[in-house]
């Protein structure tokens, strides 16, 4: 007995639809990652700009200003420079 050919029922392919649905969150995720990276870089650069000048300075790079009032021994192993505002 000849088999009756199975009628093909047109079905909606779900895959393309599914990938389209997940595309939007993926784009957002990418945007978030890029945005986060940009923000992190900006904060890092800002922090460096603020922090770098505040770092230690070797005495040879400090330079000097002539004639100042001092206490203690000239040529001592440790020189303390004090910047004070009277007000």
């Amino acid at each position: 007995m000849a088999r009756k050919p199975k009628a093909r029922v047109p079905t909606l392919s779900r895959r393309p639809q599914g990938s389209q649905q997940s595309l939007t969150p993926r784009r957002w995720r990418l945007k978030l990652v890029i945005g986060g990276a940009v923000l992190a870089i900006a904060l890092g650069v800002g922090g460096l700009v603020r922090w770098l000048p505040q770092r230690d300075v070797s005495p040879s790079r400090q330079g000097t200003v002539e004639k100042h009032y001092t206490r203690g021994t000239a040529g001592a192993a440790v020189v303390i420079k004090e910047f004070s505002d009277y007000t």
Binding site: P53, Q54, R55, D56, V57, S58, P59, Q62, G63, V65, K67, H68, Y69, T70, R71, G72, T73, A74, G75, A76, A77, V78, V79, I80, K81, E82, F83, S84, D85, Y86, T87
Partner: protein
């Protein structure tokens, strides 16, 4: 700080970030002309509460100067002539060069110390630096 005698030198930079501070810093320099910079400096801090709130503290500072047996007329004339202005400006420029944005700021050799420190902390920092520079092979 007497425990570090012979090992430590303090160099003072009176910084004036505010206009009123300029006159006071100049007065300190002028007292120095009469050989009493440190006495005047110490007195400014000791009696800080007595002059700091005044808009024009010069007269009060002159009263203090009298207590230190300074020539008050000479001191007043020195401040009013503003001949110490260049020194105050030089110190301010130096502070800016070293990125000193607030006071007190100390440099213990290379080490920057910002803000008020307790005596114990300062002693510890100085000891650390002395140990470092006096270590053999350094």
């Amino acid at each position: 700080m007497q425990q570090f005698e012979g090992k430590v030198q303090l160099v003072l930079y009176p910084i004036a970030f505010r206009p009123k501070g300029e006159e006071v810093a100049q007065a300190a320099w002028c007292a120095g002309e009469q050989g009493k910079f440190w006495e005047f400096h110490d007195m400014l801090f000791r009696r800080w509460g007595l002059w700091n709130n005044l808009d024009a503290p010069l007269q009060r500072l002159l009263d203090f100067a009298r207590d230190l047996n300074l020539d008050v007329t000479a001191l007043k004339s020195c401040v009013e002539s503003e001949r110490m202005q260049s020194r105050v400006e030089a110190d301010r420029a130096y502070a800016q060069q070293l990125q000193v944005n607030s006071t007190p700021t100390l440099f213990i050799n290379a080490n920057r110390v910002v803000g008020v420190q307790g005596e114990g902390d300062l002693v510890r920092l100085i000891r650390q630096e002395l140990d470092r520079v006096q270590r053999p092979g350094q």
